[in-house]
């Protein structure tokens, strides 16, 4: 077990900062922030208050646009001028009001007393300065260190954040570091001057799940060892459960609930928090038939409702909700909720619905012709290598991938970034040409199709993209976007296409009048619905969903997942669902393929894979995935998977996973393990799994071709 049991007890019995309980390190009091826009004043933050003690980890959770980042930027006084203005409130840091300081005094605090870590490690480091210079800069500016002193300290800092070989690494540039390593460097820069508070704005959102676990572990560890307070801003309730002592939930520029992590996750007292917790699919609970969602959209902050802000979306709304509630104390000290009905909520909301999905399980008959079968699919990209006469290097994006999808089912394709899952989708869509391998769609060869045949097949296979902001042409109206494929393929004339657009918009949960709108006039979730409507326009039978919900807020994510499932049921669609979120994949898929560095690691039916994973990589992924329950999270073992993803330019010899595998032996380096059927219908590419299984269960499945 971890030492956490003693070093980090629940805040109730003995917070690490309990001795300084009465003195807060940072107190935000009744903060108001306005943004002047051409359409009026956006009240981005309206009267929020929260406090952080020394050494404490506090989370600020909310969806995009709720004001969480704005409130953090206000602490640093980094709001973009002149649009953003702090119009009221106080920000006390060690008793001093930061809003009253001169720019000069404020600059002395930034980086020295309060450090900030940003979301995007790829762009928050300066690409033309060496890591060493960027680390030494704050030391020389704030602490007046000499060059040598600063370099010594920089080395120490890299060691602190777990980067080995510091001497050599200091002279390298950001592009020579992976995403996770860059975030470590960012943390080292944040730590440089021994700040008392670090504000981390979505510190792990851009990282893969196994790297995310490493970084969070590191940040918590550092906070405890160096007694640094952490303000973590995030939309992901899962990561908060494991690390935060206290949680503030924000909605529409206000804090709607605050309390200890145990209270917030165990006994939420605000319908929004309850909705957030229930709308994410969870790995620690049985899979439910349908996700519970929060209907509707957050209010427009140009003109927020005068009632309770959540009332229009709230399932427990009563007449009293017309009165804007303040934060009420609940029976638990430090737990406050802005809901008139907080007392009754526990009984109103009841237990989460967990309809066992077994009843609705589709029969996966083996003998039916698969909707799509992929065999030995390989894609190599040539990139020019460095140097004048460097020649060509080969990126092995996809290597010998085989799987098939039964009609009317969903195949989940999971893996970390760079594992080739998106390339597989693009190969099937023929947006890229495969280097070798076969793709059969409804029994016909897709990889070799061209001309009219390809054009015809393209009406049968459609795609939904990840980013709803860039996947719709900004110069076309919603109606034009949806009607275009029908017009081009001569499916419908102008009048008929118009009717069909209205029909499709209704089908995806939008209104026909929205056909007149441009994409930028819609919210992210609405745009994704337009993307789905466009895909449906040609009556396809197969849809490649490339991370269709990962760019959306959690409350919207659930709505889109439910829509995709409904459409599948109604129209008999087959999906290839590409995603990195294991919980989402479990929820929607019938069968799951796990990929790593261009190769398939494991294929199995959903229940089998999540209950009895055989490949060590699948186990590591499941282990690293955060669960929104602090009680479960705190009893879980620390994450096993170490190291970084190797480059697909130069993948490891033998089993590609052996460099990070906790079970690796010499034989793993010798040869690429074949994908073998170790259990009925459960294929694994791992010699160690085969060994251990061979000892326990008798296995007799023939290897697949």
């Amino acid at each position: 077990m971890r030492q956490a049991g003693t070093a980090q007890p629940t805040p109730r019995s003995g917070d690490p900062a309990a001795h300084s309980d009465d003195r807060f390190l940072l107190e935000v009091q009744d903060l108001h922030v306005h943004f002047e826009t051409s359409r009026g004043v956006v009240r981005a933050v309206e009267g929020i208050s929260y406090a952080i003690r020394a050494g404490e980890i506090v989370a600020l959770v909310g969806e995009s646009g709720c004001g969480k980042s704005v409130s953090a930027l206000s602490i640093m006084r980094l709001l973009s001028k002149p649009a953003g203005r702090i119009v009221g409130g106080r920000i006390l840091f060690e008793g001093r009001d930061l809003l009253g300081l001169s720019d000069e005094e404020m600059r002395a605090i930034r980086g020295r007393e309060i450090a900030m870590i940003f979301q995007e490690p790829m762009t928050s480091l300066n690409p033309v300065m060496s890591i060493g210079r960027q680390l030494m800069e704050p030391l020389q500016i704030h602490l007046g260190m000499s060059g040598e002193e600063a370099r010594e300290r920089a080395k120490e800092l890299l060691g602190l954040v777990g980067i080995t070989d510091a001497e050599r690494r200091l002279d390298q540039y950001p592009h020579q570091f992976s995403g996770g390593m860059r975030q470590r460097v960012m943390i080292a820069i944040g730590l440089a001057c021994n700040p008392k508070l670090i504000i981390a704005d979505e510190p792990t959102t851009a990282l893969d799940v196994t790297i995310q676990a490493q970084i969070l572990e590191l940040m918590r560890d550092l906070s405890r060892r160096l007694n640094i307070a952490l303000l973590v801003i995030t939309h992901n309730l899962g990561i908060v459960a494991r690390y935060a002592h206290r949680v503030n939930v924000m909605y529409a520029a206000r804090i709607v609930e605050e309390g200890t992590a145990e209270e917030i996750f165990g006994a939420p007292r605000h319908p929004y928090t309850i909705g957030l917790l229930r709308s994410v699919p969870r790995l620690d609970r049985p899979r439910s038939e349908k996700l519970e969602t929060i209907e509707g959209l957050p209010p427009n902050l140009l003109d927020p409702p005068k009632t309770c802000r959540f009332a229009p979306r709230c399932p427990y709304r009563i007449a009293n909700c017309d009165i804007d509630p303040s934060l009420f104390d609940t029976e638990h000290p430090e737990h406050r909720s802005a809901c008139h009905r907080w007392r009754e909520l526990a009984s109103l909301a009841g237990a989460p619905r967990t309809v066992p999905a077994e009843a609705a399980e589709r029969a996966l008959a083996d003998e039916t012709l698969p909707a799509l079968a992929v065999e030995g699919l390989t894609k190599h990209f040539e990139v020019s290598a460095k140097g004048f006469a460097g020649g060509k290097a080969v990126v092995r994006a996809v290597e010998d991938v085989s799987f098939s999808i039964a009609p009317g089912t969903t195949l989940g394709l999971v893996g970390e970034s760079g594992c080739g899952k998106t390339t597989v989708g693009r190969l099937i869509l023929r947006l890229e040409e495969a280097t070798s391998g076969r793709i059969a769609f409804e029994g016909r060869d897709l990889a070799g199709a061209s001309g009219a045949e390809l054009k015809r097949l393209r009406t049968r296979i459609q795609v939904i993209f990840q980013d709803p902001f860039s996947s719709l042409n900004p110069r076309m109206t919603v109606g034009q976007i949806i009607a275009e494929p029908m017009r081009v393929h001569g499916i419908a004339d102008k009048r008929r296409a118009g009717e069909r657009v209205a029909e499709l918009l209704t089908q995806v949960g939008l209104y026909p009048y929205m056909a007149e709108r441009y994409p930028h006039q819609l919210s992210g979730g609405q745009r994704q619905r337009v993307g789905i409507a466009r895909a449906l326009a040609m009556n396809p039978s197969f849809i490649v969903c490339d991370e269709p919900v990962s760019a959306l807020d959690v409350s919207i994510q659930g709505q889109i997942i439910n829509l995709l499932e409904e459409l599948q049921e109604r129209l008999g669609l087959t999906y290839l669902f590409i995603a990195h979120d294991l919980a989402v994949v479990r929820h929607i898929s019938h069968r799951v393929v796990v990929m790593y560095l261009g190769r398939v690691m494991e294929i199995a039916d959903r229940e089998e894979l999540y209950a009895k994973p055989l490949h060590p990589y699948t186990r590591a992924l499941l282990d690293a995935a955060p669960v929104p329950d602090p009680v479960i999270e705190r009893t879980r073992a620390p994450r096993a998977l170490k190291g970084e993803l190797p480059s697909p330019l130069n993948p490891p010899q033998g089993c590609v996973f052996h460099t990070r595998c906790p079970l690796a032996i010499d034989a793993c380096r010798a040869g690429v393990p074949a994908l073998e059927e170790l259990r009925p219908n459960h294929f694994v590419a791992c010699i160690r799994a085969k060994e251990s299984l061979g000892r326990n269960e008798a296995c007799s499945g023939p290897a697949p071709s």
Binding site: Q462, N473, P485, V488, M514, E516
Partner: protein, 296 residues
Amino acid sequence: MAATTTGSTLPSRERSALLRFVVEQPLGAAAFVVILVMALAAAFADWIVPYDPEAIDFSAMLAAPSPAHPFGTDAFGRDILTRIIYGARTALSIGLLSSLLGCAAGAVIGVASAYFGGRTDLVVQRFVDILLSFPIIVLALVVVAMLGRRLVLGIDVNLIVAIAIPIVPKVARVIRSAALSIREMPYIDAARAAGYSHARIIFRHMCPNVVAPFLIMLTAFIAQAILLEASLSFLGLGVSEPKPAWGLMLAGNASDFYREAPWMVIFPGLAISLAVFAFNLLGDSLRDWLDPKFRT
């Protein structure tokens, strides 16, 4: 919720496009009026000007501005106001048409080059390199010398082509770089996955998204085209004396007299500046107006 944003879009849709432009882009509308006045003056010059533009009047050589000659006269005693009004014909026809032609060709080449990529891109861009390596005036000279003159409705078509050709590679290069990032947008992938033709993707999906840099270059090149026309005229390859043209009025013998007769350079210069300024202003407002994001 959804209903809150509907109200603002509906009334503007009902209005006519022209009225909407006037309301939303008052500066652009003013610029449009200036250009319209110039165009009308040029078209109906025969009825509104007091003098014959080519009539030489030795009794009024280098006359200062006066009620009889509001803008003064030149070394041959020709009325400058008259010549400026007639000169608008050349300026508008050659400046606007050649810039439009050059930019449109350049934009299509640039977008296509970015869209097809690979070898096509390589070949097109090397050809663009070759064109770019010639000084603009030399290139235009060669074209004019090769094609000779061909008058259609009093406008030298080959002169327009000659001025347009040096514009093409510059626009192609800039538009290509803008199109390269559009090329990577998922909506282009979506269009390919829907089985659209190359031409449709280039013209319908990519071109409208590079309209912002296109309009900026278009308006910038109108000014250049007017000046290039003046240079060519000065070398005897463009419009030639005694035909009135703004560039020619500036570049011709005005330089010999500007000390004693500054109005000879001031007024044609003002005419060019006003035209260029109006086109720039109109281009900027058109860019904003065509961008759906700016619509409320």
